[in-house]
């Protein structure tokens, strides 16, 4: 795959590649960010370039056949960009739900009864995914009703739902470390959820232009 020609670029990780150890190994983070995410970015840019060409030449059948490519690779770029930001090193301040996300914590407890009940429900949802996909905590608009949802493959969360945080359940997200033990990955991931970012998204939503297209 040739180097990306824009308009989208791979956002840098907000922490070191080994910062999530022992929950997620450096090797996984390396491959996941530099290879998998980069490929989504490259393929998205390539599909958008083809789209521009097809638009110019009024090639409607080419335009239609490009939609799924844009959705898949654009979704891959969106989902991974959100994912890196909603993770944080274990034991960091941001990893503590109650103190890092007081508003969201209250909303979670009122919706699921307790932090544990929420985590159990979310974990069950992740483990129930058949094939590749993502699990999300979403709110209906800023500060709205909370729900747990899944999206298949690289489908992104779309309006009016706001993605508060997501967990990548593709096998590439955990396999080198957890192998077929995805239950182990799911139980460990709670140690690295960035609740400060989740709180921010819950209250104010996501600034799409900054999050997915960093200034060059």
């Amino acid at each position: 795959m040739a180097a990306s020609t824009g308009p989208y670029t791979l956002p840098p990780l907000p922490y070191a590649y080994n910062a999530l150890e022992p929950v997620i190994s450096q090797q996984i983070m390396d491959l996941h960010h530099k290879k998998h995410h980069q490929t989504y970015v490259n393929n998205l840019n390539a599909a958008l370039a083809s789209q521009a060409k097809a638009t110019q030449s009024n090639d409607i059948s080419a335009l239609v056949s490009l939609l799924q490519k844009i959705k898949f690779n654009g979704g891959g770029h969106i989902n991974h960009s959100l994912f890196w930001e909603n993770l944080t090193p274990p034991d960091s301040d941001a990893s503590k739900l109650e103190t890092a996300a007081p508003t969201l914590h209250k909303a979670i407890v009122s919706r699921w009864g307790s932090e544990q009940a929420f985590k159990d429900t979310f974990s069950d949802t992740l483990l129930g995914l058949q094939g590749s996909g993502w699990g999300w905590l979403v709110s209906r608009g800023n500060g709205g009703k909370l729900d747990i949802t899944t999206t298949k493959d690289q489908d992104p969360v779309t309006a009016p739902e706001v993605p508060i945080f997501g967990v990548d359940m593709w096998e590439h997200a955990y396999y080198l470390q957890y192998l077929n033990n995805k239950g182990g990955y799911v139980s460990q991931i709670w140690r690295v959820i960035n609740w400060a970012v989740a709180e921010e998204r819950y209250k104010h939503g996501i600034d799409s232009s900054k999050t997915f297209k960093p200034a060059m």
């Binding site: 491959l31 290879k35 998998h36 490929t39 799924q68 898949f72 058949q130 094939g131 590749s132 996909g133 298949k152 493959d153 690289q154 593709w170 096998e171 590439h172 396999y175 080198l176 192998l179 077929n180």
Partner: protein, 231 residues
């Protein structure tokens, strides 16, 4: 060696299945059932026998863990389905269908997959001949061109899934089809040859370089099995 292992495995399956076993049931590719329960079929070769195309570690995890989980989860869902039928709970029967499809499909797909692989020393990678070889030439021009199209189909899978060479039961024609997740080849089509494109099938060895896996696996394809399925 492999042929005798094979027979042993079938004979054992037939024993387990008891009086209910018919020659046809025992002949269904490796899908063994005992007292209505699915069981994990034995491999006809050692875990390491497909190296360097597929590492022994991958084969061991893939067979002993992944496939086994599909078998267990399918049996669990089947028991629940039987209970739901017993109690005439139609809603529960419908709700169980996705689990039956996913885990039952996982069992079927992997059983077919193990059998359409073989070590090089046991004929792995030897080109198809006979009716299937001719059908491939007629349909795709050549084996190389077929493999190219098949690999393009594999690379195009967005998420987890399988690519299959299938026979259309209505026309007798062959073609390439991809299936999401563990959706099995059923109904109008007969599975001839399948390749697992889930990340667990290659990640420990190839990581994100899945095109290398798709290229290497042709070295251990058992075309003899495919020929039998075609007929």
């Amino acid at each position: 060696m492999s042929a005798s292992l094979f027979r042993t495995s079938f004979a054992r399956a037939a024993l387990r299945a008891g009086a209910a076993s018919t020659p046809k049931a025992a002949g269904v590719a490796g899908m063994t059932f005992a007292r209505g329960k699915a069981t994990l079929p034995d491999l006809a070769y050692d875990f390491g026998a497909l190296e360097p195309s597929i590492s022994g570690k991958i084969m061991e995890l893939h067979h002993n863990m992944h496939h086994k989980t599909y078998v267990n989860s399918f049996n669990e869902a089947s028991e629940k389905l039987a209970a739901a039928k017993e109690s005439n709970d139609i809603a529960a029967q419908i709700a169980l269908q996705p689990l039956i499809n996913f885990h039952g499909g996982g069992h079927i797909n992997h059983s077919l997959f193990w059998e359409n692989l073989a070590p090089k020393s046991q004929g792995g990678g030897e080109p198809p001949s006979g009716a299937l070889g001719k059908a491939i030439d007629d349909t795709f021009g050549s084996l190389e061109s077929f493999q190219g199209k098949f690999n393009t189909a594999l690379a195009g899978i967005q998420g987890s899934g399988w690519a299959w060479l299938v026979k259309d039961n209505q026309t007798g024609n062959i073609g390439i089809k991809t299936y999401a997740n563990q959706d099995p080849v059923v109904g109008q089509f007969t599975p001839i040859l399948g390749i697992d494109a889930w990340e667990h099938a290659y990640y420990l060895q190839y990581q994100n370089r899945k095109a290398e896996y798709f290229k290497a696996i042709w070295e251990v394809i058992n075309w003899k099995t495919a020929e039998k399925r075609f007929q």
